[in-house]
Symmetry: C2
Subunit: 180 residues, 2 copies
Amino acid sequence: LRRVEDDEGDELLAKVAVPVVRLRYGELTEWTSIAVLPVCSSTGDKESITMAPTSTFEGKFGIVESESGWKRWVVLPGWDPLLSIGNGVAVEFENAKMLPWKTKKWLREEEVMVIIDREKKEVKEEVQFYLVSDMEDKLKVERGKDVKDSDLVMGPVVLVVRPPRYGDDDQVELTDWEAS
Amino acid sequence: LRRVEDDEGDELLAKVAVPVVRLRYGELTEWTSIAVLPVCSSTGDKESITMAPTSTFEGKFGIVESESGWKRWVVLPGWDPLLSIGNGVAVEFENAKMLPWKTKKWLREEEVMVIIDREKKEVKEEVQFYLVSDMEDKLKVERGKDVKDSDLVMGPVVLVVRPPRYGDDDQVELTDWEAS
């Protein structure tokens, strides 16, 4: 993953509780591995997040073999958090307003993809952020300490992916991590 | 696509009727685009080749949006024939014995993936090779001139993909095209 490299250095890195990464056009070309995840919409049926299938890469062609049929998939670079994920699913949000940390206004307006690991539903305070369904059945991201013992936890957030932007250069991306 | 570069030069190129390409480990890293295709098995239900869904890349994250749910997918480099394909499907064969051209013995023993375009079922003599189902309901690849007016045509072969091999170097791959 891209690292924060600014004046704050290590301190900023230490504050990062969940990686937020911006996809770049053609970025797959820089990675030796890929991750393929089923996609759910945050505005759709919440059940679908539980129902979305697990898959593995099989055989010499690396065919994605999925437990069950699924319509929507995303191919992402083999970022570290994705390679060690147990049972991942990508949840697509129309904007980033449900992220519980402060950020720039334009970043809050952008669509975002929240990748969770469904294998680890148990909430641990030291663990970062969780995707939860609130009383109104709306999905949002919450800090672990705020959702302890909740039944509505979908899983820990392992990665937040922002869409590519035209005209991005490395400098912009290098500062695009967010601290919690 | 990799080109034939040997003593025969242009003559050999002119004889190539369908591209045969060997996938390399980590090859996706060399391409700026990818292709995602549903996979069918040659030993499975022939119907599945017709049933496998069409899909498109949608939105800023390039999400694969498929007509219907499907269990098996393959992610391939954005080779030219795949980018211009109308309605592609990858058919997986346990070996390459059904390919109607002469080749080395060990190449005939290898598994192979035949990519067809289901959009162009009409047989044209000048067009290369077709995937057809024979009287015994077995799939094979035939020359266009041999399957004219057949009902059993699944579609023209746009690409034959061989699996990656350990220890491959560029020289081996550059000579791995086959002439019809």
